[in-house]
Amino acid sequence: MEERELFQRYRETRDVALRNEIAEKYLYIAAVLARKFSGLGVEYDDLYQVAALALVKGIDRFDPDAGVKFSTFITPTVTGEIKNYFRDRSRLVHLPRRVAELKSKLRQAAETLTLQLGRKPTAKEIADALGVTEEEVLGCMEAGSTISLETPVGDGEGRLADVLGDTSDDFDRFETRDAVRTAIGGLSETERFLIKLRFGEELSQTETARRMNVSQMYVSRLERKVLDKLREEIKKGMV
């Protein structure tokens, strides 16, 4: 069955068996993208799981009549999920002590400077704040810094995932949605319009730029600024 026909049938029926068939067909995209981000300190298997989950969610949202191929649509979605995973779930271990200590300080300094400057700091600003060289900061950023949930713990018979507390996804989702709604309320009209086009209608940056009558570069910059702003607001709202 052709891609378009497959997705159209799924949109009509919402048949789980059909969704599984689609997922199997495109799982290679999750594998490819997970591999691109592996070697940066997170195990491939963990990234693959994140990517596969994003792929399944994306199948539900994909509109075969929107004029883009599924692989083009899903790649940014999966990439975004992987990046979120790096940002939110990574945990610091398995590094030489000095690097681990510097990495920890680096992360704290990055957070502090982000608040002070109202934007993400550069490597030089972090280096100045920590009194180390820029090279040390750059090298440290390259060093692996995460641990797999599959890492053995205790006598090696259990996994880290087994000893970590469970969380309720429903509660997290409710809390996040509430925080997002509040944060969006604080945006300007233009910023809200951008969010609506990019994440409500899921338009590309180019199409968004056309609708807003501005350049794609402007959309890219504004989007980053707005997302940073939302992230900060959400963080404040959820503390």
Binding site: K36, S71, P76, T122, K124, E142, R221
Partner: protein, 116 residues
Amino acid sequence: MTLLKLSIPLGNEILTTVRLATGGVCSLAGLDIDRSEDCKLCITESLLLLLHAGYSAARVEFSREEGLLVRVEGEGMGTGKEGAETEISEALLGALAGSVSFERKDGVLTAVMLTF
């Protein structure tokens, strides 16, 4: 303003070196740490695209305009073959870079232009 030009043999073993150099350039250009990570990944991905397209060497040129502009160009002759993952690689670049464009000559990829 050109910040740095690299001329490199294409091979997996050189990618870490390119990533380190890219990190330095990003810092020089004032990119924040998240954008630096995106930039590193995009450049290595562009190099892999050129490698799969049959090139054995490449030039990477970083210049500072409004943001950071990077041109990754194959040296010598490409075969015109593209890897099975080309489409995903191109979408990945589109997702991470501020903008991306591909130069092709007679259907053969010759260069990737990125902005951050």
